[in-house]
């Protein structure tokens, strides 16, 4: 998702840039309070960890691999502020030193790859923790679900930015369906790996998991680990459910409209140029007919993401008893 220069309009780049800069300023202030003078060395080496973790290739399906994005994982291990800051530094250095992602695209790349996964992922994590049982299994399960959701959040956020700053005549629902569809698959891998990683850290140094700092050692030492297979099957089921809901919006909507059009008879005139057999021909009409629906999906998804990021920020800004580390 390292978008290059010119992918969205200059206005969108500037608007997302302003949002990113102001959120990073808040994160910087809060992270300083959390880590005090240890901040620079600890966050720096944590950033190197996230950078290296993105080199871990994990299997997505037979033969293909994806790699960890790490935004939600960093937020759960280090806290959302330090997590957001650390992933921001990673994304900026990737653009500058490795030419991965455009320099004028940094506004939306930082927003989509660092801020939304970190704060949105942390909000989802706090939510899932409430539902799931307290203790080790709850932490691991909530991490997996939140990490998966965080990837879908960033894919949806990108599609919404496309609605405002598209540089190509591709309708929002096509981009939304494609982005969210592909990233649901990536989200499964992200969720499984993040959950198991947090599980491994909990076994070795439970005090290092920021998201579990409300639990004491006894609660974390229960030994019954949920079998991995169960976890994978559960996450696939959740994802398929999500994908079905999304595809209802993205695909069935236009089909429904077309059905109505056919019933009322005004689609017959569409046959004349002989292109209606092509899959792509459909998009041209659906994009226009479907503007209201597109806006509705974008609005709903945008509200959910903004609420999640806002909740994550709020949750993280509340004073808390424990400080990271020991």
């Amino acid at each position: 998702m390292h978008a290059p220069d010119g992918f969205l309009t200059a206005g969108t780049a500037m608007a997302t840039g302003a949002i990113s800069v102001s959120t990073v300023t808040i994160a910087l202030k809060q992270a300083k309070g959390q880590m005090t003078e240890k901040m620079v060395p600890l966050a720096g080496i944590a950033a190197a960890f996230v950078f290296a973790a993105q080199m871990f290739n994990f299997p997505v399906a037979a033969g293909t691999t994806g790699h960890l994005l790490g935004g939600a994982l960093a937020a759960i291990l280090l806290g959302p502020h330090v997590g957001a800051l650390v992933v921001t530094v990673v994304v900026v250095v990737q653009a500058l030193a490795f030419a991965d992602g455009g320099l004028t695209a940094l506004g939306y790349n930082v927003l989509n790859m660092a801020i939304i996964p970190a704060y949105g992922g942390y909000a989802a994590y706090s939510g899932f923790r409430r539902i799931l049982p307290q203790g080790r299994r709850g932490v691991v399960g909530a991490t997996g679900l939140a990490a998966g959701v965080s990837v879908i959040f960033s894919a949806a956020a990108f599609a919404i930015q496309w609605l405002f700053g598209a540089t190509a005549p591709v309708p929002f629902d096509t981009v939304f369906g494609a982005m969210v569809g592909v990233h649901t698959m990536i989200g499964i891998g992200e969720g499984v790996i993040s959950a198991l990683t947090v599980g491994a850290v909990l076994s070795a140094r439970p005090d290092l998991v920021f998201g579990a700092s409300d639990l004491d050692r006894a609660q974390l030492e229960e030994s019954d680990r949920a079998p991995l297979r169960v976890f994978v099957i559960a996450s696939v089921l959740v994802t398929m459910l999500l994908a079905t809901v999304v595809s209802q919006f993205a695909v069935d909507g236009p089909d429904g409209l077309e059905a109505v059009a056919e019933d009322t008879g005004f689609i017959s005139s569409g046959q004349e140029h002989g292109l209606t057999d092509s899959i792509f021909a459909d998009y041209a009409t659906t994009g226009i007919n479907n503007e209201g629906l597109s806006l509705a999906i974008a609005g709903a998804a945008g509200t959910i993401i903004t609420l999640a990021v806002g909740y994550g920020l709020f949750k993280a800004l509340r004073p808390r008893g424990k400080v990271l580390g020991h």
């Binding site: 390292h2 978008a3 290059p4 220069d5 010119g6 992918f7 200059a10 780049a13 910087l28 003078e37 901040m39 620079v40 060395p41 720096g44 080496i45 944590a46 950033a47 190197a48 960890f49 950078f51 290296a52 993105q54 080199m55 871990f56 994990f58 299997p59 399906a61 800051l85 530094v89 900026v92 250095v93 500058l96 030193a97 490795f98 030419a99 455009g102 320099l103 695209a105 190509a168 005549p169 591709v170 096509t174 990536i186 499984v192 790996i193 959950a195 198991l196 990683t197 599980g199 491994a200 850290v201 070795a204 290092l208 292109l275 792509f280 021909a281 998009y283 041209a284 994009g287 580390g325």
Partner: protein, 254 residues
């Protein structure tokens, strides 16, 4: 989703571009890329000027053209997306060799191709002519908060160490017959990721203790006494200003 970033893009040379102070190059590249990003896509001649500027920089930095081309591979997924735009764009109003295309889609394809390739080339040239710690120092001199540049320098300094640990873990796994095909075999990857995090964090604490014993108070000492001359600024900003002039002309004439 890209590939790993094991090596930076630096090309060791002694060119005029390599010698420029990093902050002038960083600001120059940012201005140049911003000019490209705001240029209207119909001004094809403007993009030709930008490309010519980049060719001049490639030659004067003595960076091999093949190196630049090989590093441009990071934009490939987006280029592929752009190539499909004439086919999936709305409103098929042109027919080219029997294929109905959207002229709006063709323009979009051109826009994304031109801007992403020119922008990535500019980033590659900055990274090829400036060592990574110098890029960070350049940002510091451009008044980016010291905490951010500090985190970035630490990250860069320890990246090789941590990536090296990762590589050894992976080698050990492969040597024991690990060959993941399915997601249910992901546990070894995750437990090594967890171990790597704990090791990195503990290394961070040791580094902090070592710094503390050498008098660290939370701020890195300033050992940077270079002052950049007006001449160096002029050399570095000349081509970016030409690009800005081009962008303004493109705006006015369209």
């Amino acid at each position: 989703m890209g590939v790993g970033h094991a090596h930076a893009l630096y090309v060791h040379e002694h060119s005029i571009i390599h010698r420029l102070p990093p902050e002038t190059k960083v600001l120059g590249v940012l201005l140049f890329v911003a000019a490209i990003a705001v240029t209207p896509r119909e001004a094809i001649w403007a993009f030709a000027i930008y490309a010519a500027i980049e060719v001049v920089v490639v030659i004067s930095a003595r960076v091999p053209f093949t190196f630049v081309l090989s590093r441009l591979l990071t934009v490939v997924p987006f280029v592929l997306f752009a190539l499909f735009l004439p086919m999936i764009g709305e409103g098929k109003d042109v027919v080219f060799v029997g294929i109905p295309l959207s002229s709006e889609g063709v323009w979009s394809m051109w826009n994304i191709l031109a801007k992403s390739v020119l922008g990535a080339t500019a980033s590659i040239l900055l990274a090829a002519s400036t060592e990574v710690p110098d890029i960070v120092r350049g940002f510091g001199r451009l008044r980016v908060p010291a905490v951010i540049t500090g985190i970035a320098s630490f990250m860069i300094r320890y990246l090789e160490v941590i990536a090296g640990e990762l590589t050894r873990m992976r080698t050990a796994m492969v040597a024991r017959g690990y060959d993941p095909r399915w997601l249910s075999q992901a546990r070894p990857i995750a437990s090594s990721a967890g171990t790597l995090f704990v090791r990195s964090y503990e290394r961070g604490e040791r580094v902090y203790d070592a710094m503390l014993s050498r008098g660290y108070t939370g701020e890195m000492p300033a050992i940077d006494s270079h002052t950049t001359s007006a001449g160096e600024w002029a050399v570095a900003l000349f081509l970016p200003l030409v690009a800005i002039g081009t962008a303004v002309t493109a705006f006015v004439t369209l």
